[in-house]
Subunit: 252 residues, 6 copies
Amino acid sequence: MELRSTLLEELTWTEIDSAIDEGVKTVIVPAGSVEQHGPHLGILKDAAWAEAIGVEMAEELGDALVAPVIRPGCSDHHMGFSGTISYRPETLMRVLEDYCTSLDSHGFEHIVLFSMHGGNFPAMNAILPSIAAEVDAQLITLLDKGLLIDPLMESLDEMEISADARGHGGAAVTASVWHLRPDLVREAEFTPGFTGDVSTSTLTMNGLDAVTELGHMGDPTEATLELGEAVTDRIVTAFSGRIRDERGDLDA
Amino acid sequence: MELRSTLLEELTWTEIDSAIDEGVKTVIVPAGSVEQHGPHLGILKDAAWAEAIGVEMAEELGDALVAPVIRPGCSDHHMGFSGTISYRPETLMRVLEDYCTSLDSHGFEHIVLFSMHGGNFPAMNAILPSIAAEVDAQLITLLDKGLLIDPLMESLDEMEISADARGHGGAAVTASVWHLRPDLVREAEFTPGFTGDVSTSTLTMNGLDAVTELGHMGDPTEATLELGEAVTDRIVTAFSGRIRDERGDLDA
Amino acid sequence: MELRSTLLEELTWTEIDSAIDEGVKTVIVPAGSVEQHGPHLGILKDAAWAEAIGVEMAEELGDALVAPVIRPGCSDHHMGFSGTISYRPETLMRVLEDYCTSLDSHGFEHIVLFSMHGGNFPAMNAILPSIAAEVDAQLITLLDKGLLIDPLMESLDEMEISADARGHGGAAVTASVWHLRPDLVREAEFTPGFTGDVSTSTLTMNGLDAVTELGHMGDPTEATLELGEAVTDRIVTAFSGRIRDERGDLDA
Amino acid sequence: MELRSTLLEELTWTEIDSAIDEGVKTVIVPAGSVEQHGPHLGILKDAAWAEAIGVEMAEELGDALVAPVIRPGCSDHHMGFSGTISYRPETLMRVLEDYCTSLDSHGFEHIVLFSMHGGNFPAMNAILPSIAAEVDAQLITLLDKGLLIDPLMESLDEMEISADARGHGGAAVTASVWHLRPDLVREAEFTPGFTGDVSTSTLTMNGLDAVTELGHMGDPTEATLELGEAVTDRIVTAFSGRIRDERGDLDA
Amino acid sequence: MELRSTLLEELTWTEIDSAIDEGVKTVIVPAGSVEQHGPHLGILKDAAWAEAIGVEMAEELGDALVAPVIRPGCSDHHMGFSGTISYRPETLMRVLEDYCTSLDSHGFEHIVLFSMHGGNFPAMNAILPSIAAEVDAQLITLLDKGLLIDPLMESLDEMEISADARGHGGAAVTASVWHLRPDLVREAEFTPGFTGDVSTSTLTMNGLDAVTELGHMGDPTEATLELGEAVTDRIVTAFSGRIRDERGDLDA
Amino acid sequence: MELRSTLLEELTWTEIDSAIDEGVKTVIVPAGSVEQHGPHLGILKDAAWAEAIGVEMAEELGDALVAPVIRPGCSDHHMGFSGTISYRPETLMRVLEDYCTSLDSHGFEHIVLFSMHGGNFPAMNAILPSIAAEVDAQLITLLDKGLLIDPLMESLDEMEISADARGHGGAAVTASVWHLRPDLVREAEFTPGFTGDVSTSTLTMNGLDAVTELGHMGDPTEATLELGEAVTDRIVTAFSGRIRDERGDLDA
């Protein structure tokens, strides 16, 4: 089946209706944030990244649509940096519930939930059991730090990027966003970020601005477009594989 | 001052910080929906329209940024049409509260709230007093059916478009979206929609699908790009004028 | 059928039970406020007015009862004037939900919702879809500024009352309340009120006391009992007509 | 000081403002219900009773106003009888909070809370600590079954009314309402009600309609106007005395 | 049937499963508090007492299990004393709802609710109707001050303990806890407590620390282990009797 | 300083007050669950384990008290097994908030939050930013799967316990509980549990009973008391070390 777009939002209701009728039974719900990632990345970074990853997943699967990316997200400890907009966890929980019950009512059989912003994991995971009790569709959740971070780390290892390059706004994420949404990247502003340790307690009590003036962690100067492509591919592959497993594609 | 973009989401936190420092004290929060508007409009229509109107307002004002458009919105009576995602009113109330308190904390002095989707008005107006009590910034609200619909109607009168052409997905809105976001318009699908009366009670109890199979009201076949430009200009002019009045630009 | 009273609250449960059995299938839920309207009107004005209008509607319909008027209402921007009691929107939303589910359980087939206080519209309209999903009865909503204000304005035009006479506590509303509840009117205190413009933003941020010391708008000195009767009749006729339309009385 | 009415709702904001200025620092908030009490009492009984008792208290104190009576109340186990409207406890909690914060803002120094409907006690008592933390005024609470029922029982003992005459809609309450609001009493329908035991568990699980078809308990046929006056006086005396104690009138 | 323990929490799921299968259809939910009771009682007192009373009831009934005691409880006016942890009423309401719906799902037919801390009564009673509407099991509620206090008072009368010995942390409760949980009692710290009157208004507005430095009321020096056994037996007998009545054991 | 107990609940308010005065500024809040862990473990396992670990941590630190363990927890996907009691995430969020604000008011300077039940992590982490904004004390959070699981895994590796022995109710957790709370362990019921993979999606949608009849995962037959002691020591050491780091003990 030929879809005009894999983005649900760009289609008319009749186009969506036909797609579902013809077998597009999976809808992917990406989540991100509106949050600072240092002076080299636009604040939509996590959301734009999530949307673009969602599109690659939908293309890889061939029978999925991508819902409008959820943003803002829970970004409380970035509030010290201008432009950040943060949801209280209860807000995000309600948003996710409304997305899932709405999409479920249209006949999608698999609702995939993922977030490219780790700060959304607690609220999203917390509300899952309630949503599961309300919908008929299968919820496929990729809301797991390991699943998200392992592919990034493997790429960095393989490409011999230093450990310090990692982190919030570091080489791996910068590279992947650069590959997918170059308009959000300011190459001229690549500069090493904070690389020390910062505990959850500190972040929770004092915010990230307590330890860094620039806002990012890790070193974006090691980012390359080649790394970006590698990282992106690994993530898309890992996520799509999980979806196929959960849907039981092999069993069919 | 030269802004790389009037869209907050495309800027880095440092760019936003500088802008505020240099006098960009107004942030515009557009709201829309993810909702069917007949077979000729993509379901992001209201949200994309609101974002584009927001950008024109920001350009007209010269000292404003546009926050990420709020969507979905409250679209309960469109749920019978595939793809529509609807927020419960409490969800939208929380979302708006989080937007405003976040933006207020960054030093904006004027927060402008408007919605190109009328279904959002009740929830947004209901939460306004609570928000007003929480923020330091001035709230400038354009959440008023008259303010939104009068400019559309005047344009239609002036261009001698028939009364039947009006309404949800009709000539005026189709034309304005066509002018601003042609990618969301399917010209080949322009077809007259429902033009009878439908009461709020019927919409509330039974949804719009009780009276129309296609989903739109009014007649998009009368839409032209010329009408779209006229309608858009009137809206932007009306909204920007109200903002200047509320900010007291003339008093300065 | 002979009802001892059209006010539900004055009847015993057995009288109500018989009435429903004998065909009284419509219950009217009026809403008002406990809020200042200048020095010439008791603060129950909107609620007493709504109750009296409800009774006239029930008499006009001949087969309806009137529930206890909902008050207080949402009166946030009147809090600067002594005696005003205001509900948060969430409170009014819950109150309305409890009214409707309770009345629905007793076998009423039509629940009519209206408010003589515009400040209640956002919260009442916001919760409607949730209520609609919970009740079996048909919800008939008259929660629409146009429907309320048009009859007032027409009466004023017809009787050549000046435009300045209109508004919160002005000639039209004062006259109608005078006609229905003279005990709440202080004729000796009729005095011209604020007639300038005040934006929603100002009301929301600063309250009505920012622009007027007296609290009312428009000019009650133009109120007459004759005008009161005319205004009242128009409102009752407009509302009752809408109820008959929604119930489909003509279709029977 | 000469008050036109002790009912806040009948006064204009300027009259209320003057009264507070001149020493009316106590506001009494009565609560009742909209609930069946057998075939001989109008369903507003508890609310009308509370309002009338409130007025007598205010007259006895000489420096108090009575807020609009709170109704409906929590009447869940009366829902089996037509006309009953019941609040969820959370609704009543919010209503009470809004009343108290509103009244507190106008400068009352003592806010008296009482309910002539026992079903309201749990929700009202539950929310008290939150309200106490929000207001400057002293909360004087009479929300105590003993305080309410002891005066009734003493009157019945003294007048040698049988024990079976007591209870929901029985002799004591019927007599007091008859004395205060004869329009709500149907003397022709006085008939002995249910006099057996019914546990809270049964009421909670099955409602009062599980044990009685008529809805009332005790025997209203023993009610007399003389008893009504005696019962009323005792209640008013007990409540007013408590208010004076709490305000520390003797200490002054 | 031989149960390894009457405490649900000490059993494995398979042991519980077998017990229910073999006729243990009653589960007892005790509630207490984490709250000061003077210098002679550990702050778990109410909760430990409730758990121990629950166990005695279960043993007396022979076919009941005891759920993990609910604690903390609502102890707002004890917050002035170190160590007290207090739930807002909404928290306790949610906790009770979750207990009951969980236990109901496992097939218990009778859920018994009681609290040895009076401060929990309002919140627990307020949420009962909602829970009753959600569960299949019969709710048996002992949440009634009279039921709790009458047996204590009768024991004290019978043993000629002075009236002043009663109250929060006084002779009766100290004795019963001493009998059941001697580890929580500091005999060396027995000292007469506050014995004056303190109104609910004072407690609500100012907390118990406004009238007593020590925190307890009544006189624990009159406590004896003999009194403790007598008080305990009366409470257990009164509660168990009520449970048998409500279950209809005699009807079988 | 000599504490009678490190368990806050066993102390009187005066003992707690003195302890805080003398330098006990850290309070540890353990969280667990009331949830099945196979036929060999009592359902209080996670909570009892958390409490015992908390006590060891307090002893190790020497200047800390342990609050009453929070239980139940969020155990939705164990509801298919008898006895499990589960909190909705919003309930646990409120419980944690009430604990922290209460403890903060008594003057503790460090509030340590940890959970031996992973299912509590989302709700607890989600509410952290709100709590951080409300309290003066430093929140020290150990709510991190890695921190909890790494020490278990290292012990298993070191003692050459097979990978299959791990998991919910497996060798490591069984051994640690056996060491700390032998009364909750049924050695006769040790039996290999489910060792396959089960995705979060499956757990969320269908519960653990969809994949295992017994309820546990991993193999408790490999548990030994020696392993239990090793595992326990590692956890206590890891947690206590983190607390010292966060408190800045070395900086002093």
